[in-house]
């Protein structure tokens, strides 16, 4: 790992479901497991409720990586929300990849309420991988762009 990458602290946004992953992350804390502090958690009732636009908004707002995590299959609090989400992510990933958006920066996990240790692990792993990829500057550049008619933007 070169020096620049070591100095770079990735900003990770995690979209998690309330019933499994959020509780799991809570358990990580109460179990006093130490893990990377780069993650900001946004809690949703269910992975099925996570609009794909939120992922794009996270990148536009400066995220370098994204975690999407919810209940394991058959464990959804609403029976099938995670199944619907899974199908949506399959389609969405395909489209993003075709557009050249870096799908390696979006990590999907199932983390249950009992998997406090796994949460620490997936965050650490995501941070390490995003650190390796570096900041997502190509997306940020586009996000802040408005017109090429002013000298300031040249």
């Amino acid at each position: 790992m070169d020096e620049n990458k070591a100095a770079f602290e990735p900003r990770i946004i995690a979209f998690v479901c309330n019933w499994c992953t959020y509780a799991g992350a809570d358990l990580t804390g109460t179990s006093r497991i130490k893990y990377a502090t780069n993650v900001e958690i946004v809690r949703f009732p269910c992975t099925g409720r996570i609009d794909f636009m939120l992922l794009l908004k996270a990148f536009a707002a400066g995220a370098d990586g994204i975690i999407v995590s919810g209940c394991h299959p058959n464990d959804c609090h609403y029976t099938s929300g995670n199944f619907h989400a899974r199908r949506r992510w399959i389609v969405f990933r395909g489209l993003l990849d075709f557009l050249g958006i870096d799908v390696r920066r979006i990590h999907y996990y199932w983390v249950s309420a009992a998997e406090g240790a796994k949460w620490a692990e997936v965050v650490n792993q995501t941070v390490a991988e995003i650190r390796e990829l570096g900041p997502y500057t190509e997306y940020k550049k586009v996000a802040n762009y408005i017109e090429e008619t002013e000298a300031a933007h040249e």
């Binding site: 794909f52 536009a60 199944f83 199908r87 389609v91 395909g94 050249g100 958006i101 870096d102 999907y108």
Partner: protein, 266 residues
Amino acid sequence: MNNWNKQIADMLADGTVALVIGYEEGSTPQKTRPLFCHDAVAAERLVMDGRCTHNLAVYLTKKELLPAEGRIGVVATVNVLKSALQLMQENQIPEGRFLLMAVGPEGKLTELPDAESLRQYIAAHPLPDNPEVAALIEKIDAMSREERWAYWQECLSKCVKCYACRAACPLCYCTRCIVEDNRPQWILPWASTLPNIEWQINRVMHMAGRCTGCGACYAACPLHLPIHLLTKKLTQEINREFGTERPAKGNVLSTFSPDDKENFIH
């Protein structure tokens, strides 16, 4: 006057249909355009041939254009029929309201009064895949991710947000589109690269498994941006992942299978 024009003129004259939507000659010999026939005389202007590419199904959900009473005839291409069927499956148009009609090669008019007859006609008249579209998708697939991003960024930076792609699509029928919502403002409403990309992602995601592949979005784009590649690619992905069969009611994303792949979820 063709025989089928005469038949339609008679239907308008005797009140079988109150309005017929079809095609007429356009501004140049190379193109035709949509025509609303309110009377038998106008039916003389109807044409049907390979130049008829507008997806007339877009008018079927525009209530302000349609008479309150009576049936509405549509002289349709297969693409129009496919979209009309999809609209019926999504409960956007009632089955009996429209009399869809196809014109055969010898000018024979086939009436398709219900969803079942549409289904059969569409099955019997499969549309060939456009090799140019397939080749373009292959070309983009072969690019590196960075090249793909550069390609689409350059391409969509030109978009002026006229929303012709939305307006021309029969399945973009929401009365209030996500881009018109400002609480929250999901997509910034002016034309610049990122909001343009976000708009296309939204348009295409909302088409997942619903797009009939007619290409009206691309044909409508005044800047000729190849946005139909996005819907086409999405359809390819869906076919590969979930098969080519579509649910009879609802759509691919409103259902699921416990066996859907999850090799990307850890």
